[in-house]
């Protein structure tokens, strides 16, 4: 197995978290101590920007640029929200990070808050991660005791504290404006800017929202520098390492911290133990359910944001779900559509009604009652859902669109054979629930 630097997973134990002491012993909180003592706010922001740290929650937005959109004279109070909603199917890296090294996240949050002078941090965590929520609450209290949180941290002028907020559920809460609405006790429908959250977010105040993994990178960048971070990647355009949650038809599903730009084939064969006995690689989703299928043709693709974008795909969360030759891609896509349809918040028409329509057609195709005429409708609608209100719908139709592009034959076989060639049993008549 290739020797890969373990940065975020430096303190990883098999079945327990790294304690605060262990984190400190490994150099944790040093970055924080230094920048507070040196009042080096600008350095934090500059380092993050130069390190080309892209958001690891799916949208890949440069964190440094986001921080810089909080104007110097923006009003107070300001908020930092950590997005621990992690509901993208196939994604479990944030869960693992929270169970591995919670203080890494805490330090990352304090540093990020320091950069924008936020006084309050909130970890927005999905209800299914109740265990992680309790761990976080406990470790936040320990961090506070050690003086890393609270009033005038470590003798500086900077005050900051963290609340853990449990969500009620729902995938849409992972979207930034929807999450802010959820925090404010409103229905979590997304809200198109303007204004942007960094200008007017939580309670109308400047708010920065970042994914768990992204924030976990921050202490390392500040401690070791932007150049070091960029150097961790295997590609020119990549920066840092990535936690890849691998699942599906592989021998060793799990979370792997690997350099950005590592080839997909290496991830699967060298780290995830290769395909299960009797399984051949057919396709994978590279970054969660809202990405397009990669096929054998992409098997060696370097896994970083830029390479996938160039190829017309998306790295998203980096959650790799591996499908084998025995898996029906129509059925897999149908499963994904069932997920998206159920999670649609119901605000805009294309998503709310278009997804059930698409699901209905896929159900019929999978159940052997599909028609040739469905295909142009599916193609048209998968294009049209890009004009919905938020990024949910375009994500929802990404698997579908790639199904039609790369597995069109499989679809047509379902239709002409009037059954699923992979032997999936037909279901009942399509209902609209």
């Amino acid at each position: 197995m290739m020797d890969t630097p373990q940065v975020l997973f430096k303190n990883r134990h098999v079945d327990r978290i790294a304690t605060r002491d262990e984190y400190e012993a490994g150099g944790g909180y040093e970055a924080l101590k230094r920048v507070l003592a040196e009042e080096a706010r600008d350095e934090v922001q500059a380092a993050i920007k130069e390190a080309l740290l892209l958001g690891r929650g799916g949208a890949a937005f440069p964190m440094g640029i986001k921080l810089s959109t909080v104007a110097e004279d923006a009003p107070f109070p300001r908020y930092l929200v950590c997005n621990a909603d992690e509901m993208e199917p196939g994604t479990f890296k944030d869960r693992v990070l929270l169970h591995t090294d919670p203080h890494q996240l805490i330090e990352g949050m304090v540093l990020a808050a320091f950069a924008i002078q936020a006084a309050k941090g909130i970890v927005f965590i999905r209800p299914e991660y109740e265990n992680a929520a309790r761990i976080l609450e406990r470790e936040v209290a320990l961090a506070r005791k050690a003086g890393y949180l609270g009033e005038k941290i470590l003798g500086s002028e900077f005050s900051f504290d963290i609340d853990v907020h449990r969500s009620g559920g729902r995938y849409i809460c992972g979207e930034v404006t929807a999450q802010l609405n959820a925090l404010m006790g409103r229905r979590p429908n997304p809200q198109q800017p303007p204004p942007y959250p960094t200008e007017s977010g939580l309670w109308g105040q400047p708010t920065v929202l970042q994914n768990v993994e992204t924030l976990c990178c921050v202490p390392h960048i500040v401690r070791n520098g932007a150049t070091w971070f960029k150097g961790l990647a295997l590609t020119e355009a990549g920066a840092g390492t990535k936690i890849f949650p691998v699942s599906g038809r592989v021998n060793r599903p799990g979370c792997y911290e690997l350099p950005m730009g590592i080839r997909l084939s290496a991830i699967i064969e060298e780290h995830a133990g290769g395909m299960l006995p009797g399984s051949e690689f057919k396709a994978c989703l590279p970054g969660g359910a809202s990405t397009r299928f990669l096929t054998r043709e992409h098997y060696d693709i370097p896994m970083d944001f830029a390479s996938l974008k160039e190829a017309g795909h998306r790295l998203g969360t980096g959650a790799i779900m591996v499908f084998d030759h025995k898996t029906c891609m129509v059925a897999a896509t149908l499963n994904l559509m069932e997920f998206f349809t159920r999670e649609s918040c119901g605000w805009c028409t294309p998503c709310r009604e278009g997804l059930p329509y698409i699901r209905d057609m896929l159900r019929r195709i999978e159940n052997g009652r599909g028609e040739e005429g469905f295909i142009p409708i599916l193609e048209q609608m998968s294009r049209q859902l890009w004009n919905a209100y938020c990024a949910f719908a375009p994500g929802a139709v990404s698997p579908l669109e790639s199904l039609l592009t790369f597995f069109g034959d499989e679809v047509r076989e379902h239709i002409s054979a009037r059954k699923c060639p992979f032997g999936n049993a037909p279901g009942g008549p399509s209902d609209n629930r």
Binding site: Q192, R342, C348, P356, I377, N387, A388, N432
Partner: protein
């Protein structure tokens, strides 16, 4: 080329150019070109949210290109937009198809048909056959009250209803539950919608989810005769459209008017029409209780009036109109009184009302008078002695829109005023309000809080408005309100003044009536034997006169009571001669609203008994006749013209061609006013400088002196449902009437050993009036507030103060 900050962007839509004010959205710019872009969630009053995605256009040139939502997209200079681009058309077609996925095939049984935005968009979008094979989701409906019907299967989830209900009206019992395509709009539990503006849901819903319940299934939209008309149930004069069919008024809808009511009307006005088609409505002339031909009644009335005038003197005949008489009717009344020497016309029930209203009218000038549209744009509002939600509901809604934009609103009123937004309430006693307004206009020491802060804010604001009522305030306070507004408007600042007046044409009545005369004084004159005959014309005065027993005694003393009306008031039953008049639906009319705006209601239908009432299971009737049954009622102005001709002779050819024109000399602001000359936005009839009809008060008791006698100060107050007599006849609105409640401040209630929720009885044992006690913290101490709800005139509380023994606790 540089574009200035306030330059008007010029853009191209479908190859046609249009210049629009900055901030205009593309959908509104297109409308100026006559291009109607399909839309559902967008509404000019609610703004744009971009949810339905139907208004898609393609931007060919601009900072954002491609498919965009025209309701969210701001028009920019140089933008090139196409509504006909193939992608945009295809996308809109898909959106329509998606919206129709779950839509039930209800058109054959849905009231919305024919005026359904969904129908219009679907048909014009080319959607016909259904190709989606899945099932439709269904919902259970809720009972939402007597006014609004709920049918959720039809919903297309445009979110208009909750945005309107919660954001625009400020009520919070309607919400959106569920997720995805199961999203559901309704209440937490079934029950009457609390907002008195809920009826607008009917207009605003683009499909048939919310429909007009009282008019449900009465007919198809295209079967109705629809006419622009006015609401006559308060002084605001909101615009609405009347639907009539088979000689019956079937429905009201809100009609857009940018200056007065905007897009909406209140529920009182919307559902008030049943009085016009009620089986109880008197349609036949009567002499001494016997039905007679109309002409005979006119000549008999004329003869008897002449007799009385001859036996005593012309002034022994008194004439009373009301604030619901049209301008034409009032004009004839004025002429008759002048030429016959009769007393009047009086149009208000109490002397203080007559004085207050005519003073208010005199204080309104063309610079000061603010419309509802202007009030909605105010940044600071002070309300003095007015309870908008009950006295002039759409005023409350306009105030809310001002509040939403950040206006600060202060209310000085002794009553427990409630409004659908947060405001500062000063529960001053009514006698204190005038002097307080006076203080605000002068120098107040900073220590005098909160008055100093209020005064400062008014002075520093850019568009302050003073709103005052005429029900609770003294005449002096009415003037002080105007003085404050004028002071704020000095130095060219835009300051506004608005009065809530007691009736649709109260302004007109105050202009034309003989002031300061009132029914109260006429009753005194009857009691003194000076007045022997009384003519009541469409007069609510009997229904608003506080002491019913006294009035009945007075009427009994008369030699002659002549009544003209279109509704069966108790006076009709007591009349010696009764002449049925036409309603505003049959006669039309000009009415002057509280702003001084003359507006016109058009004739909506021909008179006559509704066909539904004459068929008796035998429609059409087998016996043929040449006349329309029940078509006896005629416009009051015409009847009075005939009466005038009989009494004083037919008008000279050299005289004014119409009663209205005849007013020109005495009322210059009404000169050149004919029905034909009223434009859609109405016509303001305000003086340029204050007339200030402040009337001498030497011989009249100031009923609002700081009276500190025994007991509590009595304040009669209107309630939105039940006080206006015409609307109170509507069965659906009777269901909306609140229970009879009296309000007391906490300290007073404790002193009188009354608790919140106690049931008490007021009035004679023969006809007791039972009420519930509400103890509140937001009203003036030393007062007791009683509602003008049916029965209020019989309770015998005729003085300004109420003593403890007048209220008996129910055991």
């Amino acid at each position: 080329m540089t574009i200035g900050l306030n330059a008007m962007p010029k853009l191209t839509i479908d190859n046609r150019s249009v210049e629009v004010p900055p901030g205009t959205k593309v959908i509104a710019a297109a409308e100026q070109l006559g291009i109607q872009i399909p839309h559902f969630c967008y509404h000019p009053a609610l703004g744009a949210v971009g949810a339905c995605r139907v208004c898609a256009v393609k931007v060919l040139e601009g900072s954002v290109k491609g498919i965009q939502m025209s309701c969210m997209l701001e028009a920019r200079d140089g933008m090139v937009v196409s509504t006909t681009d193939a992608d945009a058309v295809a996308f809109r077609q898909s959106v329509i198809e998606w919206l129709m996925l779950n839509h039930p095939h209800d058109c054959p049984v849905c009231d919305e048909g024919g005026h359904c935005l969904l129908q219009d968009m679907t048909v014009s979008g080319g959607h016909g056959l259904r190709r989606y094979r899945g099932n439709k989701r269904t919902h259970r409906d809720q009972y939402l009250g007597p006014l609004v019907q709920h049918e959720m299967n039809r919903c297309i989830q445009c979110y208009r209803c909750v945005r309107y209900y919660r954001e625009f009206t400020g009520y919070d019992d309607l919400g959106v539950m569920g997720i995805g395509s199961r999203v559901y709009y309704g209440r937490f539990e079934e029950g009457v919608l609390a907002s008195p503006f809920a009826g607008n849901l009917i207009d605003i819903c683009p499909t048939g989810v919310y429909t007009d319940k009282p008019s449900r299934f009465k007919g198809r939209r295209w079967d109705f005769e629809r006419t622009p008309s006015l609401c006559i149930h308060c002084s605001l004069g909101c615009h609405m459209t009347v639907s009539a069919r088979y000689r019956e008024v079937v429905r009201h809808e809100a009609r857009f008017n940018p200056v007065v009511n905007g897009h909406f009307i209140c529920d009182r006005g919307r559902f008030a029409y049943p009085y016009a088609s009620s089986p109880e409505r008197p349609r036949e002339a009567q002499i001494d209780g016997r039905p007679v031909a109309g002409q005979l009644a006119v000549t008999t009335a004329a003869e008897r009036l002449a007799t009385v005038a001859g036996q005593h003197q012309p002034a022994a005949v008194a004439v009373a109109g009301s604030a619901r008489c049209s301008l034409e009717t009032l004009a004839v009344l004025v002429r008759i009184c002048q030429e016959a020497g009769w007393r009047g016309p009086v149009c208000f029930e109490e002397r203080r009302t007559a004085r207050a209203v005519s003073t208010a009218v005199g204080c309104l000038t063309s610079t000061l008078a603010f419309s509802l549209q202007a009030i909605a744009a105010a940044d600071s509002v002070l309300l003095a002695g007015v309870d908008p939600l009950h006295e002039a509901p759409m005023l409350a809604l306009a105030l809310r829109q001002a509040r939403r934009k950040g206006a600060v609103i202060v209310v000085a009123d002794p009553r427990p005023v409630n409004l659908p937004f947060d405001f500062q309430h000063l529960p001053l006693a009514s006698a204190q309000i005038g002097p307080w307004l006076d203080r605000l206009a002068g120098d107040i020491p900073e220590s005098d809080m909160p008055s100093a802060a209020i005064a400062r804010r008014l002075r520093e604001s850019e568009r302050p408005v003073i709103v005052a009522g005429t029900d609770v305030l003294s005449t002096a306070a009415v003037v002080q309100a105007a003085d404050l507004a004028a002071a704020l408007g000095a130095n060219g600042k835009s300051a506004g003044l608005c009065y809530a007046l007691p009736g649709a044409n109260a302004f007109g009545a105050a202009l034309l009536a003989k002031n300061p005369d009132s029914l109260e004084q006429v009753v005194e004159a009857i009691e003194n034997g000076q007045v022997k005959a009384l003519i009541l014309v469409e007069s609510d005065l009997c229904q608003r006169f506080p002491d019913q027993a006294r009035l009945e005694r007075a009427l009994a003393q008369l030699d002659l009571l002549v009544v003209l009306d279109y509704t069966a008031s108790p006076a009709v039953a007591a009349a010696h001669v009764f002449l049925p008049t036409a309603t505003v639906y049959e006669a039309g009319g000009l009415f002057i609203n509280n702003e001084g705006r003359v507006q016109q209601a058009l004739v909506a239908m021909r008179g006559g008994t509704p066909i539904s009432q004459i068929g008796q299971g035998d429609h059409p009737p087998r016996a043929f006749r040449k006349d329309i049954p029940g078509a006896g009622p005629r416009p009051a102005g015409d009847l009075l013209g005939d009466l005038a001709a009989a009494v004083i002779g037919a008008p000279d050819a050299s005289e004014a061609p119409s009663p209205l024109a005849g007013l020109a000399e005495s009322h210059p602001t009404l000169a050149a006013l004919t029905a034909a000359s009223i434009p859609p936005e109405g016509r303001l009839v305000l003086a340029d400088d204050p007339g200030r009809r402040v009337l001498p008060s030497a011989d009249e008791p100031n009923t609002h002196a700081a009276d500190t006698g025994e007991g509590l100060e009595l304040i009669w107050t209107d309630r939105i449902f039940g006080s206006e007599p015409l609307a109170a006849l509507a069965p659906a609105l009777q269901e909306r009437q609140e229970g009879d409640t009296l309000f007391m401040a906490r300290g007073d209630a404790a002193a009188w050993e009354l608790a919140d929720g106690d049931r008490v009885v007021i009035g004679p044992e023969a006809s007791p009036w039972e009420l519930a006690v509400r103890v509140v913290d937001n009203m003036a101490a030393g007062t007791i507030v009683l509602p003008r709800l049916p029965g209020w005139q019989r309770c015998g509380l005729t003085r300004n103060r109420v003593q403890r023994d007048a209220i008996r606790k129910r055991s």
